[in-house]
Symmetry: none
Subunit: 206 residues, 4 copies
């Protein structure tokens, strides 16, 4: 058996490198040479791990998606208390970590920006991921609706709002980081998230 571990390590390094380079230059703007350089590898060797530039993008997006989605979903799922509180706590968590995600998000934004409309595998992958996230969150909300007796609460709309806000904040964190920091300290984001959900407002504020 050849060294399987090495292959995985190399592959990861390439994805990290790709993430950085895509963030910096966009998909079309990035070159395989840049990715190879950053990964400390040769251009030719790169093709041992990814069969093409498109494949590299796909692999990168996949890795990012897996990492990002599990984490936050776990958090939301595992915390206790009424939905409103949980959402508020989740919101805070996001605010605190958003800058750490900035590079990944910047990279994916580049990718969306360039491939948003096409019928590429990437578009499908990202679309599927988006829908999966929404579905998961919605299930969670629906459960809360039942357990907390929230009547007439449009769970899907709430979920979509929250995701839109997060997208908007990711953009802001990149475009205007100082403003973003100012904003994240104002406590307005958790408040707003909580405001979407019926229930006692007091405990929600950070």
């Amino acid at each position: 058996m050849p060294r399987v571990v090495d292959r995985e390590v190399r592959r990861s390094a390439l994805i990290q490198a790709a993430l950085f380079v895509f963030a910096e230059n966009g998909y079309h703007g990035a070159t395989m040479q840049q990715v190879a350089d950053r990964a400390g590898m040769s251009k030719g060797g790169l093709y041992e791990y990814f069969s093409s530039k498109d494949d590299l993008l796909l692999g990168t997006a996949e890795a990012v998606i897996n990492e990002m989605s599990e984490e936050s979903m776990q958090l939301l799922r595992s915390s206790e208390g009424p939905l409103r509180q949980r959402v508020a706590r989740h919101a805070e968590y996001i605010l605190e970590n958003i800058e750490g995600w900035a590079e990944v998000s910047q990279s994916m934004r580049q990718v969306w920006a360039e491939l948003g409309n096409a019928e590429s595998p990437l578009t499908k992958l990202l679309g599927a991921h988006y829908r999966r996230s929404v579905d998961q969150l919605e299930t969670l909300f629906d459960e809360a609706v039942v357990s907390e007796g929230l009547d007439n609460f449009p769970t899907r709309a709430a979920v979509l709002t929250i995701m839109a806000v997060i997208d908007g904040l990711l953009i802001q964190a990149v475009i205007a980081p100082e403003e973003f920091r100012l904003y994240s300290q104002s406590g307005m984001f958790p408040r707003m998230c909580a405001a979407l959900i019926p229930g006692p407002i007091d405990e929600a504020a950070s």
Copy 2:
């Protein structure tokens, strides 16, 4: 006298074409040939109006910004009633028009994607525009704070929130239009916007 064509008309047509092609393919992915084709023009002729691809992007961004910003600012400024109501009404207006902006916004995502990079003229243009928008909105909010006696209301944070939400929705309208439509009918966006601002909540709902 040479072929008489209104240069402004031609320029506008090129911007429209660029808007479409950038939206479809991303900035790097778009070719001058595509833009020229769509505008019913030759590659070479394009350079009579824009000195380079970068310049074309800049001109396009400028045009979009001018169109988008004035319109919504006017609306917000001209409407009557307490701030909370005005914001709610504004929110509805945006929701109703956001799909009409989808192409423009899709194209603008390309532009956002460029933002991370450097000291390009485009970065400056967009940064300036963003700050101007925030400032204008903030002034408006500050006036309301005084006239309505809203104490301790963090106007800038509110403004930033609203802009982030709009950004997020623009993205959503492009990525997942069906979801977006569902969402826009739920009345949650105006409610959320209004929830950011202290004041009577009843009249805000659509």
Copy 3:
């Protein structure tokens, strides 16, 4: 009858402009727009006078040749005294005027440099001119050989030498004008020219 004079004036202006632009940029480097601009004319109008860029070059070269050759030939022909003296006087005349010719020469050098080898009409024109000049000079020298009884004097070789020296000096006047000025004051050029021709040396020095 249309105004024939105007046409000639315009044509001359274009040739002057072309001379300048070719000198500055070389033939391939020069653009019709530059020539038109310098002549205070439109690109399109230029084609009323010259059917193509090649034709413009040809016309320009022709004009230059006519101007340059007649002048110096006349001088040589009209002056009195033994050949050696006449050549020395001619040499001085050239030195004095060489800087005035620099632009023309620079222009033609550009052209030679770029088109020297091809079988173009220009090459033929220049070649024909060169040979014509040599022939004229040689005839003159031959006459002097007879009238002055210079035996065994290789007139053609002498003529070729003189022309080579002049070419070399034209180059030098452009490449290193200060050196050239220094040189032209040294009196070495007339001395050298005269040295080629048998005869009394005393009167030759300036």
Copy 4:
């Protein structure tokens, strides 16, 4: 390890190809495709060795200069006898080799043609070379002036003359090769060179 080709060999081959193509078409007239074709290489590969067309010209000029200058300087320096004789011998050597240099020189005329222009690296390179050549020759002449007691001999002017003549002959060899051959057999060039320098004339003739 990649395809093993000596980079230096490849580079030299490209310079040879460029030399030929520039000579044939002029700098502006030459295309990278032509150079690549002649070198038996692809357009793209060329850019592994030279970063741009300008850089290729620069590299070519550098190579030519190095080759041309050392050779003739060595000859002049190493020969014996009074200066006049050495110069005459040098002149003969040049005549004999000038046609071999014709291609190189033809290519270099492209370079000279660029000289009028600006502060380009090429201009600096050539200017420096020209001045260096003149200085070296002058030093040699100065030494002879001392050792041979030649009084009042304007060495710099003599050097400049010789260089001008060589330039002129190079041009002639290209424009009118048959004439040039005729001329070179006449023995007039060494005689003329020698004539510039005081001293016994007898032994100088070939």
